[in-house]
């Protein structure tokens, strides 16, 4: 398929003696400032879901004076529909390692953690071996290639908590605490792990950084369109003929092509109802509105987000209420309980949905939307803030079909 790219995706890379660490060598030659400038010029945005510019994060962290700084690689992938970081950790762990080294070097950290969710036993196994091999080969713990940079790296396993994907919850978790989010500010780059400046980057973002600094593939940063540069890993799932992991160039493929060409269309020739474009924390896109290029800005314009890259196709054979209940249960179970509106709000939404009977048409959509807005405004972390996006977007688009009364959320 010509629409597919192979930068992040590719052959399995597990043998450290076959890997030449070109990107980190290049960065060491360029120096910290120019390395950060390259990332800034590449317009790389965080691939974990929030889309914060990576170069700016690194620059801010680099400019902070501190005795100790930490780099944390966030491998706590838990957004339903997402499996790209697992792929990278299992198949391309040396790229991930190189990305961690690059980021740590750029921001001036000599200690790093990689946090991998506990359910990813294979990824944990593979990456533990990579760390061992890197220590043996003196890639870790020693001054690297005659430079003034050395890095120590530790792996911490998560233990089954979606909320630890939020960076401040993740820091608490590494510190051995309950994975509850922290109030921001201070941001992790000021006061993160053990109160020290800390940069938290997603696995895919770090692999992109390694690609940007690769002297042999300089085109990576020029791929895509203004505002959405490089490539994105897509996790296709749901009612598709060819679900799986794909890499695409931003702006050069439409969501429609992603569904019908890469994804091979809808299973059993059923009709597509909608697409959840970035995991269940994003608002749905209706089947008749998919013909637009895949980019950060196009989703933003439609009130949604490309999130983590989890593209879930949902056909007409599913019951909408059942899907809303499924998503609602997820957030009710996974809220960390710190912020009252998220903890109680998600519980109340579940209750409302459970008591809903289409024939009696008794629920007030306004109430659901009010709760949704309250959580959006009052939750500390992004996971809480986005917890009602899917449900409110179902009501907004299909309220009439569901015969939900009251004012529909706009």
């Amino acid at each position: 398929m010509s629409k597919e790219k192979f930068y992040l995706k590719g052959d399995q890379l597990l043998d450290i003696s076959d890997y030449n660490f070109k990107s980190i060598k290049n960065a060491l030659k360029l120096g910290r400032e120019k390395t950060i400038q390259k990332i800034k010029d590449s317009e790389l945005k965080g691939r974990g879901g929030a889309g914060f510019p990576t170069g700016i994060k690194w620059e801010m962290a680099a400019n902070i004076e501190a005795q100790e700084k930490f780099l944390v690689c966030n491998g706590d992938e838990g957004e339903p529909g997402t499996f790209k970081d697992r792929y990278l950790l299992e198949e391309r762990p040396l790229k991930v390692l190189e990305g961690i080294m690059l980021a740590a070097y750029a921001v001036g950290a000599d200690k790093a953690y990689i946090y991998i969710r506990g359910e990813y036993s294979k990824a944990i196994d593979v990456f533990s071996k990579i760390i061992e091999a890197a220590e043996k080969e003196k890639i870790l713990n020693e001054y690297l290639f005659n430079s003034d940079f050395k890095l120590e790296l530790k792996l911490v396993r998560g233990a089954g908590a979606y909320v630890c994907g939020d960076e401040t919850s993740l820091l608490n978790s590494i510190e051995g605490k309950r994975g509850r989010s922290r109030i921001k500010p201070p941001y992790p780059i000021e006061k993160g792990l053990y109160n020290q400046p800390t940069v938290v980057n997603n696995v895919e973002s770090l692999c992109c950084a390694a690609e940007i600094l690769n002297p042999e593939s300089e085109e990576f940063s020029s791929l895509g369109i203004e505002g959405s540069r490089g490539t994105k890993l897509l996790c296709l799932s749901g009612d598709l003929n060819k679900p799986g992991l794909y890499e695409v160039e931003f702006g050069k493929i439409t969501l429609k092509e992603i569904i019908y060409e890469l994804g091979g269309g809808i299973k059993t020739n059923a009709d597509l109802r909608f697409v959840v474009p970035g995991g269940i924390s994003t608002s749905l896109i209706k089947a008749d509105s998919l013909d637009f290029p895949y980019s950060y800005q196009e989703f933003e314009e439609r009130g949604s987000s490309l999130g983590s890259g989890a593209v879930i196709a949902v056909s007409k054979k599913h019951d909408l209420l059942d899907l809303m209940l499924n998503v609602s249960r997820f957030y009710m179970d996974e809220t960390c309980g710190t912020c009252f509106p998220c903890r109680e709000g998600n519980r109340q939404i579940n209750k409302i949905l459970k008591s809903f009977k289409p024939e009696s048409n008794k629920i007030n959509a306004e109430l659901i939307n009010d709760i949704g807005n309250t959580i959006r405004l009052a939750a500390r972390c992004g996971l809480g803030q986005s917890s009602l996006n899917f449900i409110t977007s179902v009501i907004q688009n299909y309220g009439e079909e569901l015969r939900i009364g009251g004012k529909i959320y706009v």
């Binding site: 957004e79 359910e119 036993s121 396993r157 979606y162 051995g176 996790c235 296709l236």
Partner: protein, 143 residues
């Protein structure tokens, strides 16, 4: 500052809990006490950490922990019928353990194999594209 630095070299509490969990199948009371002493934390605090994470248990679990995903991508691929079959076969609800301590059933959220759903995990082993029959076969192999 020195104290903060040294924390990097200390075993993370989470890692320690993983070790204990895999040794005993749960975190026994005596170990909670040891950890409280080692990390200079109140016991309640250690317990609080354990109870926050779904992969840690304070009661003995079955020899096989069966995790079945019912998040959206698996749900769209009929994970609920797999769940129903397994529940009735083991005569268990989620978070319960069989009397012979063989199986603990957990209905879990996303296991990160969404393109190959429905997905089931037996201890550390992942099984993808399962259906009712396959799930029961896997359980039978455990016996």
């Amino acid at each position: 500052m020195e104290l903060e630095k040294s924390k990097f070299y200390q075993d993370s509490l989470l890692e320690k809990l993983h070790e204990i969990q895999s040794t005993y199948g749960y975190i026994p009371e005596a170990e909670i006490e040891n950890l409280a002493e080692k990390y200079q934390l109140p016991r309640a605090n250690v317990f609080g950490v354990i109870s926050f994470y779904s992969m840690f248990y304070t009661e003995p679990t079955g020899k096989y922990i069966i995790r079945i995903c019912d998040s959206i991508s698996c749900h769209l691929n009929e994970s609920d019928s797999v769940l129903k079959a397994v529940k009735s076969y083991l005569n268990l609800e989620s978070h319960q353990t069989t009397a012979d301590k063989k199986f603990t059933l957990e209905v879990v959220e996303c296991l990160g194999h969404c393109g190959e759903g429905p997905v089931m995990m037996v201890n550390n082993q992942i099984y993808t594209k399962i259906n009712e029959n396959k799930a029961l076969e896997i359980l039978n192999d455990c016996i």
